[in-house]
């Protein structure tokens, strides 16, 4: 039969007797947390950059559509058409 130690006794021998080991476990957990947070920040920065690029593209698209609309409204056919249908708008009440 081997001399099985209780967890408390083991900790006393391995950890309590050597504070450095306890500190190393805490260090291990802290490093993991830092790496995890750094990875998360890097990913979020990447996502933000992509979102900004997408926003820029969409804003350019909206501007182009606005310009198209303005050009269309300035056209003769639009003005003639609008003049033709204006009396009908009175019917809508």
């Amino acid at each position: 039969m081997i001399d099985q130690q209780s967890p408390e006794a083991w900790r006393e021998r391995v950890f309590a007797a050597d504070e450095e080991l306890l500190a190393r476990h805490a260090e291990l957990v802290a490093i993991d947390n830092v790496i995890g947070l750094e990875a998360q920040v890097a990913r979020l920065q990447h996502d933000l950059k992509k979102a900004k690029e997408r926003t820029k593209d969409l804003q350019a698209l909206v501007r182009a559509r606005d310009e198209e609309l303005a050009a269309m409204r300035a056209s003769r056919s639009w003005r003639v058409g609008r003049a033709l249908v204006r009396p009908l708008s009175r019917l809508r009440g």
Partner: protein
């Protein structure tokens, strides 16, 4: 004076069927990129029809040059004559019976334009069957040096900076049949930047007796390939010997220095299971097999056991491992990562081997296989080939792809090789390895903060792999280190959604795996000859 072309396509020619030679030349003439030259090197073909065809082809376009050797010198001499005649900045190699995709040079030119320091580019390839159809696409991994030692996966389409090819001395006499593998090894050792283009740009023709049709068609090439890899080991300073393990497949058996202290860390609760009809204590079986199959003496077995583990199990462990046993009691709620971290903290080895208790080692010198590659400073972690008790494949490396973390070839028969690339049976880089059997250097373990204790059960190995890879280390799957993993084959583990969310929050959603490419939009193997453009049938029941 005209500027030098960007690409010199070198084609050694020796008695091919004239029709396929013409097709090869036409595939170059049809390139969408115009800045090239084609150098046809006739290695003293005996067929007058071939000689006449070559002269006709050379007359078709001023960019086609013909070099006629007076005597047959074999592939190495002919290829070197082609390189000597090349005026291009990059040389590319096209066999006399193969085809380039129309945009092969254009795509390469685009990638070269992105970086000034590109020295070597390779791309995906497929085969031309005897009926002329393209089939069996080989989707290659990104740069994978371990895989290149195991097989010449880069060829074809190889594009190399011409100055570097000349600097390394071109093709070497004495390596006929594996001269391309030898050259790729020597060029990549010196290359400043290596680029993989994940596109099929080369079509390899299957002819009776060709390497494309039968890997064993040129037996002399296999020994030349083995010597090429052995020479490479000497040049890059890897202590080991190269073995031929199959047609075009090599295994590097590395040397584990005897002074390396290895700590085998095994978390357990001392449970038993029914294995092949007999109730067995898992951890004692694992430790017994682990010790019986290694010759490495400088090791310790660190068992992290739940405090309800039966005394008899601990006694048996002591009997098996003797003075090499270190017992670490654990009395907290189950947390695999915490258990492993505690075991590592209690260990003294400069190399760690983390092992599940439900394994049994199958291969001899498994520990040496798994730990010796860690002598290379850029190798951070290694993993083994794991089989279910039924001998079906359980693990040949992890792939992070299309939002999932998968075990490629899981539940496939043990003799499955993994297609053209033999992905399931060769040593190679992978994105991750399962936590059931992991080799790692002690300093790397601490550098990446060990296993995250926020993942108690699932995916701690995926997170750990991400951390090791993000720290800049290579992760290797070692096909010749084989264990049984007595995980249930029929009960599918359902990961905790919180764990999946945790992983994605840290690392994002994976899409394309670098080392085990999966393309779900490609036809399944059984459908691969069906045209990709086949129209889909209209859905029924909708107006």
């Amino acid at each position: 004076m005209t500027a030098a072309p960007l690409f010199s396509v070198v084609t050694p020619v020796y008695d091919p069927p004239p029709a396929v030679l013409v097709a090869a030349v036409e595939s170059v003439l049809a390139q969408t990129f115009r800045d090239w030259e084609l150098i046809l090197v006739d290695d003293a073909s005996t067929d007058p029809e071939v000689r006449r065809t070559l002269r006709e082809q050379a007359a078709r376009d001023p960019r086609v040059k013909l070099v006629e050797r007076p005597t047959n010198g074999h592939i190495v001499a002919a290829s070197n004559d082609g390189v000597a005649a090349a005026a291009g900045t990059f040389v590319a190699f096209l066999d006399h019976d193969d085809l380039l995709a129309p945009d092969a040079l254009a795509v390469n030119a685009r990638r070269i334009a992105e970086h000034d320091d590109v020295d070597y580019l390779y791309s995906d390839e497929d085969r031309i069957r005897e009926d002329g159809r393209f089939a069996d696409p080989f989707h290659k991994p990104d740069w994978s040096p371990e895989r290149l030692r195991s097989q010449n996966y880069c060829n074809h389409f190889s594009v190399m900076r011409a100055s570097l090819v000349r600097e390394v001395g071109g093709f070497r006499e004495g390596f006929e049949g594996a001269q391309d593998h030898d050259l790729v090894l020597r060029v990549t050792e010196q290359a400043r930047r290596i680029v993989h283009i994940p596109q099929v740009l080369y079509h390899w023709r299957v002819l009776p007796g060709s390497v494309a049709g039968d890997g064993g068609a040129k037996p002399y090439a296999l020994e030349a390939g083995r010597r090429a890899v052995q020479d490479h080991l000497a040049r890059v300073g890897i202590a080991g010997t190269v073995e031929l393990v199959g047609p075009g497949r090599y295994h590097t058996r590395r040397v584990l220095p005897p002074e390396r202290r290895v700590s085998v860390v095994i978390p357990t609760r001392g449970s038993t299971s029914l294995l092949w009809g007999r109730r067995t204590t898992l951890v004692t079986r694992a430790v017994r097999s682990a010790l019986a199959t290694t010759r490495h003496a400088n090791l310790e077995i660190v068992v992290v056991y739940d405090t309800d583990t039966p005394d008899a199990v601990l006694a048996e462990l002591h009997e098996i491992a003797g003075e090499r046993l270190v017992l670490v009691p654990y009395d907290e709620p189950f947390n695999y990562s915490h258990k492993v971290n505690l075991g590592v903290l209690a260990s003294t080895g400069d190399r760690l081997l983390i092992l599940n208790d439900d394994v049994e080692v199958r291969s001899d010198q498994w520990l040496e296989e798994l730990i010796a590659p860690l002598e290379q400073p850029d190798v951070g972690m290694t993993g083994a080939r794991l089989l279910y008790s039924s001998t079906a494949v359980q693990h040949v490396g992890l792939a992070f792809s299309h939002g999932r973390y998968v075990h490629p070839y899981k539940k496939s028969p043990a003799d499955l090789q993994g297609g053209w690339g033999k992905t399931a049976v060769i040593d190679r880089e992978v994105s991750g390895v399962t936590g059931a059997c992991v080799g790692i250097r002690r300093e790397v373990y601490f550098e990446v903060g060990g296993h995250t204790e926020q993942l108690r059960e699932d995916y701690n190995d995926v997170d750990f792999s991400y951390k090791v890879a993000t720290a800049g280390y290579r992760i290797l799957f070692l096909a010749h280190c084989e264990l049984f993993h007595f995980e249930s084959q029929t009960r599918e583990a359902i990961p905790n959604p919180d764990d999946t969310r945790f992983l994605r929050r840290r690392w994002g959603i994976p899409w394309r795996d670098r080392y085990t490419p999966v393309y779900p939009n490609l036809p399944r193997p059984e459908d691969r000859d069906i045209a990709l453009t086949r129209p889909r049938p209209a859905k029924e029941g909708r107006s």
